[in-house]
Symmetry: C2
Subunit: 514 residues, 2 copies
C-alpha cells in the first residue's frame, strides 16, 4: 500500500464516497489508487471551479462531504471562488491538493508555489502531509474537521512523494464532533422575547430550514405570531407545498431595514444578525433597525434543531404549523418572455422534490414568492456572492440525488464563469435542466452603479457591463459540451421547452431571452 | 476628484494605458471614472483568468504593465492561476482589487474575505489603500513595484470608500528602478569559462532573448563555440529567420540530463540552473549533470544585456552571429492530420513578425525546431505550468500589437480553462487565429502517469484523463462566443483553413483533430 492508496482507503472508510477532481502529474498516484482501492466515485470537471462548486452542491444535499482532487497552488486557485461560497454556506468539503514531492519544493520549479497560502484563504482547516506514513491519519483528521458543525472547508496538502512512498495502513474514521447544546439561558431569552407580546421574528439558517426543525419553527410561528425569515442568500431551504412559508430578507439595505421595521426581537437561529451585502455611501452596514434587538438562540455550530424543539416545548406549542398549500402559480399568458414569466412556468411545472440551484441574481429577487406554493422542493442559493456557482452546485446536487430533478436558474453573466459544468452534466448523464436568463448584461451591476452613486455610466463604463457585442449563443455553447439546448423568446415557447425538459431525464439547457 | 479618479489619473500618468477587467459593485466608481478621466483603455473579460492572462500577454509584448480590475478575494482568486504564470515569467502587472468599504469589512458580509491573503499567493508587492487621500500615491508605488526588474506582480487593494471619497490630487509617476549592473567578477568568471577551451553553454532568459542582446549572444556563440540554450518554457523568445538559433531544454528529466551531458560550463544569463518540472521517483530534481558547473552571469533582476555586451567586448568578438536562414518547413503531403503536420503548416505559412502563443503542451515538445527557419516571430510560452494561459496571453498580445498576426497553438484540455478569452477576441476584433489541438485527452497526463510509475491506468483512472465522452465541439464553442470556426482532420484541410486565416484579419478558430 502506498500513501495515495492509504488516503483513498481512509476517505472511503470515513464515509466519503465521491471525489470531484481535476488532477495533474502530482496527483497521478491518487488517480491510479482509485481503481485499486474502490468505493470512491471519481467525477471529472474540466475546470476546478466546477470541481469545488460541485462538491459544495453535493454536500448541501447529501449532508456529508465529498472530496476534491486539485493540482497544486494554481489548481486550487481556480477552485477558490466556489470554496469561498462553500465556506460561507457552512458546507463540509475535504480538499486533497497535490503538491511537489517534499524533496522538490526548494527548487522553485515552474509550478512551485506556497500551496498552504492558497488554502488558508478559504479553509477552516489546513494541513500538509509530510510523509506517506502520516497521510492516512491526516486524511481522517481532514474528514473530521470538515464535519465539524455546521460544516467546514478542510484542505489537506499531499506531496507527491507522500503519495508514492510506502504506507503501513489506512486510518480508521475519527469520532464525529457533534453540535454543541444551546445553553438554557439562550433558550430562556428567546422564550421571554416570544412571550413578551412584542413583535418577534426568527431568522433561520442551516439545518433548521429543513425537515422537522422547519415544521417546529412553523409551529412556534403559528403559536406566537412570530415571523419566519431567512437570509437573502441561504445555503438550502425546503420550500413549497407542505412547508411553512419563509420570508426572504431583501437584498437592498433600505428595503431590508423597512422589512424589519417594527420587529422588536430578532431571534437568530444559526444565522448572523443581518448586514448589507455591500456598503453604500451614507447607508448603514447593519440592517437591524433602531428598536430591533438581535438575540442569539443558536450559533451556527450549535444544535439549532434541539434548541428550537426545546423552545417549542417551553412554549407549550399545541398549534400546528401553517403549511403552504399546493397551489402552483398560473402559467402566464403568451407574450414576450420576462423573468416573472420564467418563474411562473418553473413554479407551475416543477415536479415534486426537485432541487433548484438559483443563481439568477437580479432576476431572482422579485420572484422568490412565486415558488412558495409550488411542489415541495429544495432551494439552493449563491451564499458567498462569488458568481459562478449555479451550474456546479446543480452538478453536485444531481450526483447526490440521482432520483430527483435538478433545475438551475442561471444568469448569463455568471454562467460564463463555470460553463464547463455542462460537460460534466453530459458525461455523467445528470438530470439537470439549466435555464439561462439571457439578458446579455451584468444587469445587477447596472443597478449597483446607481446604488453606489457612481454617477451616470459613460460609454466606457457601459462596455464593462454589457454583453451584447457579441451576444453569447448558449445553444451552441451547450451543444459544444454535449448538452442538448434550445433558445426561446416567448412565454409559450419557454413553457413548451420547460415542459419537455421536466418530462425527460438527462441534461438540457434552455436559453431564455428575457 | 474622488479616489477612483485619482487612481485612474495616476495609472495613465505613470504610463499604464490598458486595463483588463471584470468589475463588480465595489469597483463601480473605478469603472465610472474611466469615462471622466480618459486615457485608460478598458477591455472586458468574462472571467478573471482571461483578465490576468491577457495582462500577462500584453506586458510581455508591450514591455510595460497593464492594469487589471478585479472584484474582491474571489474575483482575484479566479485570476490567480494566470498571475502565477505571470510571476514566473517576470511580467509586470498592476492589479487593482476592489474590496468592501473599510467600515464594512468587520461585518463578514457574504463577499468578505482576506483579500490580502489571496493577493500574497502570487504577488511580489501587496498594499491596501486605507483612504482616498493615499490612493493615488499607493497607485504610483504599485506601478513602480510592477516595473522593478525583471517585472513584478503588484497588487493594490482599493476599498470602496477609498474609491468614492474625495481625493486631493493624482500622484506623479515615480522614478523607474533600473536593472542592477552585473559585477565585473561575474563577467570575469564567464569570460574564463568561455576562454577555457572546455565546452560551454549560455542559458538565456528574459530580455536577452530579444533584439541586439540576442544577436550579441549569437556572436559570442559563433566566436567561442558555446551553445545557446533557453528554458523549456520561456516567457518570450525572438525566433525564426534572421535570429540566432536557440536550443530548448527538454521537458523530461532524463532527456535534459542527456542534453547537457558533456557541457562543462553552464553560464546563466537571467535564468536559474535547470530543474525538473516535476519530481519523479528515483530521478534527480537538479538537471545539471555531474561535471557541469552552473555559473551566474546575471540574475533576473540584473542587467543581462549590458553583461552580454561587456562579455562580447572582453572576448573581442569579431565574428558575426550565425543567423537562421528563411527556409520555412515544407508543407506536408496530404494525409491524416497530426501534430507535426500542424507545426509544418504553421511554420510554412506564418507571416512576418507574427506572435505565437504556444500552450500546445504535449504536442509542442517535439516540433519546436520546425519554426527555427520560419519567418521572424515572437514565441510566448506557458511559464508557470498553470494551464489555461494560451488564449488569454494571445488576447493581451493582440491588444499590445494590433498590427501583428497572433497565432495560438492550444491543447484542448487547457483551452477549456479559459475559453471565455474567445469572446474578448470577438468583441475587440483581435487578429488572433487559434489552433486547437483536439486530441480529446489530457495527453500529457497519460505520459506522466507512466513517468511517475503510478502503475497501469485502470478504468477509473482513464476516465479522469480522457475527454471523449462527450467530445468537445470547438466549432460550436467558438461560434457561441462570436468567433468564426472550422474543424479539419486532414493535412490539406488544415493547410487551407490556416492559409485563409493568415490572409484575413480578425479572430478565427481552427479545431484540428490530431
Amino acid at each position: 500500500m502506498n500513501g495515495a492508496e492509504s488516503v483513498v482507503r481512509t476517505l472511503v472508510d470515513s464515509g466519503v464516497d465521491v471525489c470531484f477532481g481535476n488532477p495533474g502529474t502530482s496527483e497521478m498516484h491518487f488517480v491510479s489508487a482509485l481503481d485499486r482501492v474502490g468505493g470512491l466515485r471519481a467525477v471529472l470537471g474540466l475546470f476546478e471551479g466546477v470541481v469545488t462548486g460541485a462538491a459544495d452542491g453535493y454536500a448541501r444535499m447529501a449532508g456529508k462531504p465529498a472530496a476534491t482532487l486539485l493540482h497544486l497552488g494554481p489548481g486550487l486557485g481556480n477552485g477558490l471562488a466556489n470554496l469561498h461560497n462553500a465556506r460561507k454556506a457552512g458546507t463540509p468539503i475535504v480538499n486533497i491538493i497535490g503538491d511537489h514531492a517534499t524533496t522538490h519544493q526548494r527548487f522553485d520549479a515552474p509550478l512551485t508555489s506556497n500551496v498552504a497560502a492558497f488554502a488558508h484563504t478559504v479553509s477552516h482547516w489546513v494541513a500538509s502531509t509530510r510523509s506517506a506514513r502520516t497521510a492516512a491519519a491526516d486524511t481522517a483528521r481532514a474528514v473530521q474537521a470538515a464535519r465539524m458543525p455546521p460544516g467546514q472547508v478542510a484542505s489537506l496538502i499531499l506531496p507527491a512523494d507522500a503519495a508514492w512512498s510506502p504506507a503501513e495502513r489506512s486510518a480508521p474514521p475519527l469520532p464525529r464532533v457533534g453540535a454543541v447544546t444551546v445553553p438554557d439561558t439562550a433558550i430562556g431569552h428567546a422564550l421571554a422575547a416570544l412571550r413578551s407580546g412584542e413583535s418577534a421574528a426568527l431568522l433561520l439558517r442551516g439545518d433548521v430550514l429543513r425537515g422537522d426543525s422547519l415544521i417546529t419553527a412553523g409551529r412556534i410561528a403559528a403559536s406566537t405570531g412570530a415571523r419566519l425569515l431567512c437570509d437573502t442568500f441561504a445555503p438550502r431551504i425546503e420550500r413549497g407545498a407542505g412547508r411553512p412559508s419563509i420570508e426572504r430578507m431583501p437584498y437592498r439595505a433600505e428595503q431590508a431595514l423597512a422589512f424589519l421595521s417594527g420587529t422588536r426581537h430578532l431571534i437568530l437561529v444559526g444565522a448572523q444578525a443581518p448586514v448589507a451585502f455591500f456598503a453604500y455611501p451614507d447607508q448603514p452596514s447593519e440592517l437591524t433597525p433602531t428598536g430591533c434587538e438581535p438575540l442569539v438562540l443558536s450559533h451556527p455550530h450549535e444544535d439549532g434543531p434541539a434548541a428550537l424543539w426545546a423552545l417549542a416545548d417551553a412554549l407549550r406549542v399545541s398549534t400546528a404549523a401553517a403549511r403552504n398549500a399546493h397551489r402552483p402559480p398560473d402559467l402566464p399568458l403568451d407574450g414576450p418572455l420576462d423573468t416573472e414569466a420564467v418563474m411562473r412556468v418553473v413554479g407551475h411545472l416543477l415536479p415534486e422534490y426537485a432541487i433548484i440551484s438559483d443563481e439568477s441574481i437580479s432576476a431572482g429577487f422579485a420572484h422568490y414568492p412565486l415558488l412558495e406554493t409550488a411542489a415541495p422542493h429544495d432551494y439552493l442559493q449563491l451564499t458567498g456572492g462569488s458568481i459562478g456557482d449555479g451550474m456546479p452546485v446543480a452538478t453536485g446536487a444531481a450526483i447526490a440525488c440521482p432520483d430527483r430533478k435538478v433545475v438551475t436558474l442561471q444568469g448569463d453573466g455568471s454562467a460564463m464563469y463555470t460553463l464547463q459544468a455542462l460537460w460534466t452534466q453530459a458525461r455523467e448523464r445528470l438530470d439537470v435542466t439549466t435555464v439561462i436568463y439571457a439578458n446579455r448584461s451584468y444587469r445587477v451591476l447596472l443597478e449597483e452603479l446607481a446604488g453606489v452613486k457612481a454617477g451616470d455610466a459613460g460609454a466606457t463604463a457601459r462596455t464593462m457591463l454589457d454583453l451584447h457585442d457579441p451576444c453569447l449563443d448558449w445553444v451552441k455553447l451547450a451543444e459544444g459540451m454535449g448538452v442538448e439546448a434550445v433558445r426561446v423568446d416567448t412565454r409559450q415557447a419557454f413553457t413548451s421547452a420547460f415542459r419537455t425538459a421536466m418530462a425527460r431525464r438527462g441534461p438540457m439547457l434552455i436559453e431564455a431571452l428575457v
